[in-house]
């Protein structure tokens, strides 16, 4: 994965995982495809775990003229 692509969202990962599971559960898959799907599922799971582990709430305040200003010190 290149660093320039935006990191996938939890939603995207979850949706992909659902699709993988659905495909695995319904079709009679060639062995190679089943194994490839499983491997992708493992990768997606790891990515999701990383995403959840590293998540940090981003807070911005809406300024006059619709500009956004980042607020960092909101935690007490």
């Amino acid at each position: 994965m290149s660093t320039s692509t935006p990191p996938p969202t939890y939603e995207t990962l979850y949706a992909r995982m659902q699709a993988i599971v659905a495909r695995m559960e319904t079709g009679e898959l060639p062995l190679a495809e089943a194994l490839a799907l499983y491997e992708e599922g493992m990768t997606v799971t790891a990515a999701c775990q990383r995403l959840l582990d590293e998540a940090e709430l981003r807070v911005q305040e809406l300024q006059p003229g619709n500009a956004l200003r980042r607020i960092d010190a909101w935690e007490e």
Partner: protein, 402 residues
Amino acid sequence: MHILTVSQLNIYLREALDADEILQDLWVEGEVSNFVRAASGHCYFTLKEGEGQIKAACWRSYVARIPRMPSSGEAVLAHGRVAFYEAGGQIQLYVDMIRTAGVGLLHARFEELKARLDAEGLFDLSRKRPLPPLPRRIGVVTSSSGAALRDILNVLGRRYPLAEVIVSACQVQGERAAATVVEALYALYEQDIDVIIVARGGGSIEDLWTFNEEIVARAVFASPVPLISGVGHETDPTIIDYVADLRAPTPSAAAELVAPDLEELRSDFALLHDQLALALERQLERHRTALQELRRRLLQQAPTARLARDRQSLDELVRRAGAQLTHGLALRQAKLQGLRLQLAALNPQATLDRGYAIIRRATDGQVVTDPAQARAGEALEIAVKGGSFTARRTADLENDPQ
């Protein structure tokens, strides 16, 4: 010129007030707010009118005699005496009787607006939208310095740090508050957001009045995305609670309703992962079964299997031939036995056994079956069961042809 200690001043004030006849027996007209009934049974509230207000207390013994105690927002006539409360350093009205003067002004305005907006359809349940399950960007309209914002951010930071929060600040009380809430809302509507929280910490009905204003209600109604209200600390609802898609009792509760819990997301994903592992196992099992079936068919076609099969059918043929043979033999034996019995039945000895006799001519051994075969005086041989003896035919007494 006097120099007094605080205690001395307080005593002076108390005595000055106590000496005033008017203050010992009077009716005060005003609106009740911050009404509190203490665990002791005493009631405390503030009477307001315009810019003025005075603290009031009503002891338990009087409370018991008052038919209906007012609630915050109600306009009342309160009877009692005014005295100086030294410990609090303030003048208080000690109430012994209250006449409720109908629904207070604020409550009346509230009820009127609520009825009007309800009739207009602003509260229709059919309009309520479900909150997005996984909001990416959450808009928050509240005071940027209030505890409400801090509470919301703390909850979101703990439960759902995947989100991005866009704070659109407003004033939450004061003359201009309603207008700033409306501006803050419309500024958010320009943004790409999934859900909006409108929040304010708790307070009296006057403090929360901003959220009972018609312009605020209509601005909330105009929200293009689901909106949740979190105003006050579980007090009576405000107008925007009715307009919002969902009402939360506090700002923190609103944040909890808006954001899923990260731990739930984790377990959701873990569930999917388990499903995947199970599905893979099934796929592998299917392939394994197919492979075994192929192997079975292959072995069946192998030459050794064929030989075994052929040998088996040969054995079968031999077995069947043997059985056929045995069966035929038995059949024949049975037939022979039948013949033997039949033969025995025909043996003359059997006839003799039953008491009959056989008569032969002694001369030629011819069996006599007709009287004409033996002349008178002819020797006859008679065989019976026990043996044989000779006899002679006598002359016929009758029917003798000679």
